[in-house]
Amino acid sequence: MDKMIEVKDLCFEYVEGSQTINHISFDIYKGEYVTILGHNGSGKSTIAKLLIGLLEKKSGSIRIHGYELNLENLYKVREQVGIVFQNPDNQFIGATVRDDIAFGLENICIPREEMDDLINTYASQVRMDQFLDHEPTKLSGGQKQRVAIAGILAMSPSIIILDEATSMLDPRGRHEINELVRDLKKEREMTILSITHDIEEAKNADKIILLNEGQIISIGTPQEILSQVDVLEQLKLDIPFSLKVSQKLEEKGFHIHKTLDMKELENQLCQLNAKN
């Protein structure tokens, strides 16, 4: 399988001696959906910025789709990676939503006659087609996030990094965007690295990287990571709702098979109820 992101023994510090990123290593393969979970200030956004060469590592190595990330390859790497920043205002360039999406497409040399179609397609996929002539900075918070996402998706990069890209979306918007991203991953084998505090969303990842104070604590499937109740709590994180309920029922003496799946939990409860 193709390795899309290869990080080895990576270190970074903003201020000398602070070790913001402390000897981390991980691999992400083509078509994987990987989520990073970690407390505020654990280094998630810093990792994202290192991966696109916006910050310069102190030591270690980063390879993107085989290319060593260095000055020489910077452009090649950026062509492959699209990032949605934590604050969408940091990525708007165009004076209108249309121009903003177009600007990204121009950068990757999409011919003019294909642009309009792409802009319309992606703007309507994020439900912003009515706002193409609006100024991106004069939108509501959720609208800004939608536009930022459309701009990146339209460019079809092979790797997408989402840094809390849906933190201000309404619930339906969040489901829709997550679904959209999952579809792209399936259809085009896009590789997704998603940073989020939403544990329910993390359940859908192929793999979770658990980060604490700049160090990786563990990497595993949602089932493996999210069931470590004590670890998660200690790291200032949460466990999924279904686990919380099953755990509390177990403490009360009920025989419940702990599960991340809400439907499965409900079925268990119904069976127990039927026995009475």
């Binding site: 903003y14 970690g38 407390h39 505020n40 200030g41 998630k44 956004s45 934590q86 604050n87 205002d89 609006h134 100024e135 004069k138 939108l139 509501s140 918070g141 959720g142 609208q143 939608r146 809390e164 933190s167 201000m168 979306l169 309404d170 619930p171 339906r172 918007g173 969040r174 505090h197 544990i199 329910e200 200032k236 994180l237 949460d238 709702f241 919380k244 309920v245 509390k248 029922l249 009360k252 009920f254 809400m262 409900e266 409860l269 119904c270 127990l272 109820n273 039927a274 009475n276």
Partner: protein, 283 residues
Amino acid sequence: MSIKCKKLGYIYGQGTPFEFQALKDVDLEIEEGSFTAIIGQTGSGKSTFIQHINALLLPTEGEIQIDEYTISALQKPESLKSLRKKSGLVFQFPEYQLFEETIEKDIMFGPMNFGVEEEEAKTIAKKVIEMVGLDQSYLEKSPFDLSGGQKRRVAIAGILAMNPDILVLDEPTAGLDPQGTKEMMNLFKIINESGKTVIIVTHDMNHVLTYCDHAIVMNNGHVERKGTVKDIFQDSAYLNQLGIDLPLITHMILDLNKKGFHIDSSINNIDDLVEAIGGEIHG
């Protein structure tokens, strides 16, 4: 200190070719001492509305009354300073609230602007920075050299420092880690229980259920529904049509009740939920 709106409307860029009506005919009252949630889809007008509560935006139509202040399209008050002391707003994007070179100065700015002495403002800064889960070493740092969630915490601290009677929060937990979210919501609850009015814009219905008493549903610049949290969550078909999820607890109760359980659908915390489920399976 109730808040009353009469036919409140707001048009962005009024009189320009780009004018956009973001609020229309908003009639409502928010009671003193309540913990009110404002919910609704992306772009429904929530942020626009709450910026009227501390006069960051002035109505282009109708009026808003906050205690003894009346602000209307026709009658702009001469000074807004004392209103801004009464009503503190934490922005949706914390970046736009931070501007000083150190976090300490940033937090001290509000209180000093309202006449608090420097020494006392320093003491306040030390207190509020810890209330938002950051230690005092942060006071010397620049507010720009922070992570997203840390910026959010500092922005909240800056408003807490002013000790406003009305605390207005625009998605205050977006970007906070789960523990920070829980601590901050508990903090707002404590502030509310001390008699202050708390108004929160949020997309997280779990918070609305567990912490708030009233909810206002906005849609397309209108207030479409208002009532107690209990009443608002009773009508799941309506919320579903608006694309608003039910809280996880309520969702689970409705699911189980469809399959033969009889759990009170107004339960608002997980311990009561588990208790109720346990009661039924025991039979």
